[in-house]
């Protein structure tokens, strides 16, 4: 290739294949792989649920609390709208307002993780909280000294689905919290200007996707 030709190619603007930025294209490709990832879990769960029919244990039998699941749903929905409002504020150049909404999102997301680990995961290993009939402590174990087989990740099919889906989802939430903390920090420093706000839009796509996954997990695991 001649020098002139290579110089011409280097100067030629690269037309994007889609009318969106490279960052958004990459994020949507990533989310496409995430859709497949969670579809595999949810699809397998639906199939097993139908296949086992009446013998599949319901949420009450497995000590899953629908109000706790509903509380977590509300926390994620609130965090989603809070993020959307934060992004809108940042795009209008209101970084302080945006930072406040991102902080609220962060707190709500942390609330989700706290409920998941302290009210849901820990009691399944160490007991159930605040039984007034037993004054021995804040957590009252119904399985003292051992992890019940019914809650082992490999103990049975229900437990495997429950742990795999909720744990991977919780990991995604934790990843999202890191992103939101970064955005909050940028707002506090005043570096998340409208011109540089695309990163907030991309992180928002991820956060809302995590919300969508929970929208499906909540009824599947806790209600039906």
């Amino acid at each position: 290739m001649s020098h002139a030709m290579s110089q011409h190619l280097a100067e030629e603007p690269v037309e994007p294949s889609l009318p969106i930025s490279n960052g958004k294209f990459a994020m949507w490709l990533f989310l496409a792989t995430e859709i497949m990832f969670f579809s595999a879990f949810i699809g397998a769960y639906i199939v097993a649920r139908i296949a086992y029919g009446e013998s599949w244990p319901d949420a009450h039998k497995m000590h899953l609390s629908a109000p706790i699941g509903a509380m977590n749903t509300a926390l994620l929905l609130c965090s989603s709208v809070s993020f959307a409002l934060g992004l809108a504020a940042v795009q209008q150049g209101k970084q302080k307002k945006g930072g406040m909404f991102f902080f609220v999102t962060l707190v709500l997301g942390l609330g989700f993780v706290a409920v998941k680990f302290f009210l849901e995961y820990m009691p399944k290993y160490s007991g159930y909280p605040l039984n007034p009939a037993d004054p021995t402590g804040p957590f009252v174990s119904i399985f003292p000294g051992r992890v019940p087989e019914s809650f082992h990740a490999l103990g049975n099919l229900w437990a495997s689905f429950y742990w795999m889906t909720t744990f991977f989802h919780a990991l995604h939430v934790i990843g999202g919290l890191y992103m939101i903390a970064v955005l909050w920090g940028k707002c506090m420093k005043g570096t998340l200007t409208p011109e540089r706000s695309e990163i907030a839009e991309l992180f928002g796509l991820y956060w809302h996707f995590v919300d969508i996954v929970w929208i499906f997990l909540f009824p599947l695991l806790y209600l039906i």
Binding site: I35, G43, Y52, A84, I215
Partner: protein, 102 residues
Amino acid sequence: MSESATHGHTMEKTYYKVFFGLLVFTVVTFLVAENFQNKTAKIFAAMTIASVKASLVAMYFMHLKFEGRWKWVLLAPTVVLAIVMICALLPDIAKLGPWKLS
């Protein structure tokens, strides 16, 4: 007030409306789960409502409603493949279920 600021305020109102809708649908899911006796109908209803909620989040919070046609190029194959993957697992019900063949 600039055009973008006006648009931002309009979007904020929309976000609140969608959020309210999501909360209402969550309550409806709860009621369906409590009151439906038929398990198949319960699963179908709950998953339909979940799909509507997911669509609302995707359309308004993820702004897919306002994106160009490129969204179909990226998302249609993914969603179709995800549905095909779930459908591909369905024959296993015949082996696992109480009506298993062998």
